[in-house]
Point group: C2
Chain length 126, copies 2
DNA sequence: AGTGATTGTTGAGAGTGTCAAGTATTGAAG
DNA sequence: CTTCAATACTTGACACTCTCAACAATCACT
């Protein structure tokens, strides 16, 4: 099931010229809530050195910027620029459109699915 | 929801030293049912030239082999070797273990989720 | 101060992905 | 029967993702 969503997922990113990890990074940074790079690495479940390159490319495109953490000078906080914020909003708007297999479900199934998946989300950390 | 499964998905492949597209390719080839490379490309929603490289590496590891299609000499059919078959079985066995968020659901929720997702699968082509 | 852990960066190397160009083969139209 | 467009795959060039090992800077604790 989940692996079948891969093409769809990649297509949404491609609309904005973004790769999957770039999409995940932008989604992870909430407006006015910069996130340290180590947090992104945990979120992507990848090596920290990987985040350096991803950040470089997003920064070069003007979607985010590195900021200093006043409390810890080792840390670089990632914050979305105005362009990044706008892109993030479009991205989330675009992701809100359900795939056809879900639309084809009955209204009751859709409601049950939503409720069950909400409970699934509760079973995770933040 | 789906993007959160990415780390899990990659970890399963990593247990067998396989990347996501390699896992998808092996899963796509059923025992005794070789698949043409064009079919893999459609399945991965990627360029045909990409499949060449993925196939090269899997073939070099002895997991599958290129065969000729007697009906069309342009086509290369991909068939799993005995090692490939065994790996595929282990992979599917490993994928059958549900993630903790799902296990934490009530029995009724699990049953409803299964039924709804089965209906979702019916709403797709093969 | 001194030691050890943490944060991020760099460089090397494998893998994935795209595109453009090229070969071989098929199938259909003149 | 030849020509011609379409299909299946490969190759080469280039960007991106990923990992690992090595490194600099900073922190936290003694």
């Amino acid at each position: 099931m989940f692996s079948r969503q891969r093409p769809r997922w990649m297509a949404i990113g491609a609309e904005f010229d973004l790769t999957p990890p770039q999409v995940m990074t932008i989604n992870r940074i909430e407006p006015d809530r910069p996130a340290p790079m180590s947090d992104i690495a945990r979120w992507l479940a990848c090596d920290a050195s990987n985040v350096t390159g991803i950040t470089d490319r997003l920064e070069k495109r003007g979607l985010l910027e590195r900021q200093n953490d006043p409390g810890d000078r080792r840390v670089r906080m990632l914050a979305l620029t105005p362009e990044g914020l706008e892109l993030r909003a479009e991205l989330q708007e675009r992701s809100r459109i359900p795939p056809p297999e879900i639309i084809a479900l009955s209204a009751e199934d859709q409601a049950s699915l939503r409720d069950i998946l909400l409970r699934v989300m509760e079973n995770r950390g933040p």
